[in-house]
Symmetry: C2
């Protein structure tokens, strides 16, 4: 590479050590946002990718199903890519694989559950199966000049790992999503001593999960939630319904364990719940005896206090098991007087309204609802302030880079690191696409590569952009006003009265006057145009649009999309 050559000649006299080269760390997602995590590590002509996630659309992204990272930079450097490494199986870390793996065609490494979830996901997409490879915690995988070590962490999904990435420039630790649970369900404790050991040997940089950087203290242990379940399961006189994230396998395990204590059968509701329970039972990471698991059809054979329903819908998702039950739209289940519903989750910001709507519906149907404002039925999967500080104090990195969070989270996390004694100049709050370049001269944000969001809408990947969204926005707030004008080809004479079709604008049956007056305005414009011998349709369209817009706004204070259509005969 040219750079290296130049450096060599420039610096030959100053230092005896050879130039160690340049390591680039480029986040293409998960910065300034929660979701679509994807980080690029590049050393000379080799690239590895950490995580490959999607994000759920915000309210403004009308009609969009998912958002994935813009990987234009990687597409331009396909030959450099060595491998993809996955920290865990959540959508925001693996969800973009069905859309991107085809393009990269490199081995994908993850722990057993992570790989199983990727496989389940791929089975729903018509794509070629990539080269998936299962790795265990403590294993090391080489990819070019990188060696990636898998280190067990705690998180709200089983089998989550952080990475210690050995590079020619030094070791970089990427935590992925993590928290510290010292009494985890299943007993697989976060490998703190390995982080300490790495720290002792010297870590170049730490990239650490910032999601909960605003929260003081230390998370309570997941096992505390199990105690709450036992408390309620013991006293429940009716049916119990627990709604949670299907992927929170430890949570599911605790529901199952509590059910077992009180001799209750477990029934699953929701497609992803059934999928995850199947996958994790096969892997042996979920213990659920065959005789405890019953089908919805068999519920009728048991008394209400003999069953626990494990359901999706803890975020108030419209199509989920719980919501359909609460709305009376589930084909085989409905909420009834005496049901105890435990919402074992916290609303993700933006979902509060949906969750409250479900709670209201549940109460109306006679259920009692326990949620995280009522009792200890949920703990977060992300490290709080004291855990973040502990990670920094163990890893003792030279450079600190907060990742996975909105700006407010990154900012707070950076402030924590500074308080811990990391020099301010060694702390970098990144932006998406920012290239953090590590060289013998230190670190600099050398450039910004193309990056951003690609929208998935139905089968379309990237065919919905700002123009389409702007149109949807206008249509959604004020609807549509179509004016069809039929004119003679030669002279532009109006051949029939203008036709008007509106949707989403006003209730048409009560708006005769508005439509009639609009027709008159359009007729006038067309006739004036005809009298002037003007047959420039785009000018005509513009006049119609302008005059009708003016008229409608004055009458209604609304701005529907106005579409003049001119038919020449």
């Amino acid at each position: 590479m040219d750079n290296q050559g130049n450096n060599k000649s420039n610096n030959k006299q100053k230092t005896k050590k050879p130039d160690p080269g340049r390591l680039k760390i480029i986040p293409l997602g998960g910065i300034g946002e929660i979701g679509k995590n994807l980080t690029v590590f590049e050393f000379e002509d080799e690239i590895i990718i950490i995580d490959c996630g999607l994000m759920f659309p915000t309210e403004e992204m009308l009609g969009v199903d998912y958002v994935i990272p813009d990987v234009g930079y990687l597409t331009k450097n396909l030959d450099k890519i060595q491998a993809i490494f996955l920290t865990h199986g959540h959508e925001d870390h693996i969800g973009a694989i069905p859309y991107l793996a085809d393009r990269f065609r490199v081995p994908i490494y993850g722990t057993a559950l992570t790989v199983a979830l990727v496989e389940a996901k791929l089975s729903e997409h018509p794509v070629e199966k990539p080269d998936l490879r299962v790795v265990k915690a403590d294993d090391k995988v080489s990819a070019g000049r990188f060696t990636v070590e898998f280190i067990r962490v705690s998180h709200s999904i089983d089998d989550a790992v952080a990475f210690a990435i050995k590079t020619p420039m030094g070791v970089v630790v990427h935590t992925g999503d993590f928290k510290m649970d010292l009494t985890p369900v299943g007993g697989k404790v976060i490998n703190l001593s390995r982080f300490a050991e790495l720290g002792k040997n010297g870590v170049l940089a730490l990239l650490s999960d910032s999601t909960n950087a605003e929260r003081p203290g230390f998370n309570i242990s997941e096992s505390n939630v199990g105690e709450t379940f036992i408390h309620y399961f013991k006293q429940a006189k009716g049916r119990i319904i627990v709604a949670t994230f299907a992927s929170n396998v430890h949570r599911l395990q605790q529901v199952i364990d509590a059910a077992k204590i009180y001799n209750k059968k477990v029934c699953l509701s929701g497609r992803s719940m059934v999928k995850i329970v199947n996958v994790t039972r096969e892997l042996g990471s979920l213990n659920l005896d065959d005789e405890m698991l019953i089908n919805i059809e068999d519920l009728k054979n048991y008394r209400d206090n003999q069953v626990v329903l494990l359901s999706t819908g803890s975020q108030g998702e419209t199509m989920s098991g719980l919501v359909r039950m609460a709305m009376g739209q589930h084909p085989r289940l409905s909420i009834k007087q005496g049901d105890l519903v435990i919402l074992s989750a916290t609303p993700i910001p933006g979902n509060e309204r949906y969750v409250y709507d479900v709670i209201n519906m549940l109460y109306r149907k006679g259920a009692t609802v326990i949620n995280d404002t009522t009792d200890r039925v949920h703990v977060s999967g992300h490290a709080c302030e004291e855990e973040l500080k502990l990670m920094i104090s163990l890893v003792r990195p030279k450079y600190f880079i907060p990742v996975h969070g909105e700006y407010r989270h990154l900012y707070k996390h950076a402030a924590l690191a500074e308080k811990m004694g990391i020099k301010k100049k060694n702390i970098f709050i990144p932006e998406i696409g920012m290239v953090l370049e590590f060289s013998r001269n230190g670190v600099e944000a050398s450039e910004t590569v193309s990056s951003g969001s690609v929208f998935i809408d139905g089968l379309g990947v990237g065919d919905v952009g700002n123009v389409v969204l702007r149109d949807r926005k206008q249509l959604s707030s004020d609807g549509l006003f179509i004016i069809v004008v039929t004119v003679s080809k030669d002279k532009g004479e109006l051949l029939m009265p203008p036709d008007i079709i509106s949707r989403g604008f006003v209730y048409v049956r009560e708006s005769d006057d508005l439509l009639e007056k609009s027709r008159i305005i359009v007729t006038d414009i067309v006739e004036k145009c005809y009298n002037n011998n003007a047959s420039d349709w785009s000018t005509l369209k513009n006049s119609i649009r302008k005059e009708i817009n003016y008229y409608l706004y004055n009458k209604t204070k609304r701005n529907p999309m106005i579409l003049p259509i001119i038919i020449e005969i």
Copy 2:
């Protein structure tokens, strides 16, 4: 009235007391929802109305500006209405007056600030000014056989009252929005002894604010927030910006008081902030010396640590002062390094996302942000569990009716009342439009009157309904696909290739194939129709809609609104 006649003849033998008549309490808003509070009290041929509020639209109400109660029941009983009584000046209690006062044409009673805010609101609407009458706390106003007593309460706006409504059936207490603040800013303490006295003399029913029924404990006093302001104002080295609800006059007062202590000038940003400060200074309920108040233009004459900006935007509202500053779109102000921004409010459910976006923008611009997760910069305006219990224990009503809340709040509040010893059969969780009829035989939910929501969109009141919203919904998620077919009038022969216009569906320039294939499909349908001598255009339209829908969905998994337009020549 017939009823009374019948009762008399039926019951003559059983009791010597004359029939006291029937009192109806009918909530037309504020039940199962937060907002558009309006309660009807009806005794025989007389009606009084308590509050007349609006609600802000939820996300699904695409393009809707406000929601007001459906007052069809009142419109049918216009001659019965005696007066409107307002508890306080928040939008959800007075906001519908500009849309409804014209119809009712009766005196409207409220305290000084409430009336001033109604006047300010009316000045923005082209309606005749209603008969507004200012009443003081402790006053009583007669309206027909009702006598309404104004009782001071604490709330997040000054001059809030509850009502003790004397009716021929007994006294009914309606709390309006309230909390109990024993060291309020301004010193006007909630009149607890009056509630106790009423309770001692016997109260038929209590309608009480349920907004915070899920929150345990007792609110901290508003004056605690002032201490936090003093703490930050003392140490601030740069500019201070406090964003809060303009109507929270006590909060504004505390900002001003803290500014005064540290010799800072106060500058106002945001239209409603300027409006409320003007109104309350004139009324004497806000103390702000002339020499402390400076204009935005004069900011340049002061050092940063000499000024405090009081701004709207605590909910992340797009057009508010704070948001425009944070986005760099304010004509005269922008956030800069060293600014301290205090968000003195809690996000209303549904607004979290907007508030977090503002916080992110503020940090990016170099400001430090203090909000209610960071420090004590906000207290709620609504009574928590212990305050609600205290109200019940003082008023000791025979019947209890939780109001102002979603179902989950009403349910919890009802449970509290039951715990307090009110008999379950005497507790009524109402629904909107439910008629609670009090007679000598007790209370029953006798019927449900027409009620619900009326949407305000631009100048339209009620012209946007479910059909329009359904269309907006479809247009917003998948856009629009218009197909123009020109056929001969006599035979239905296709005269030119079908024309296709799409918006918000796909990026058209990259979708030539899709459009071309659609044209072919439509051509085939029209030709088949022509060959069959069919000239039933609605059948033709349906075929086009169906086939194109099928084709587009298969190709894109999207469902745009398909609009076939047939032009007959």
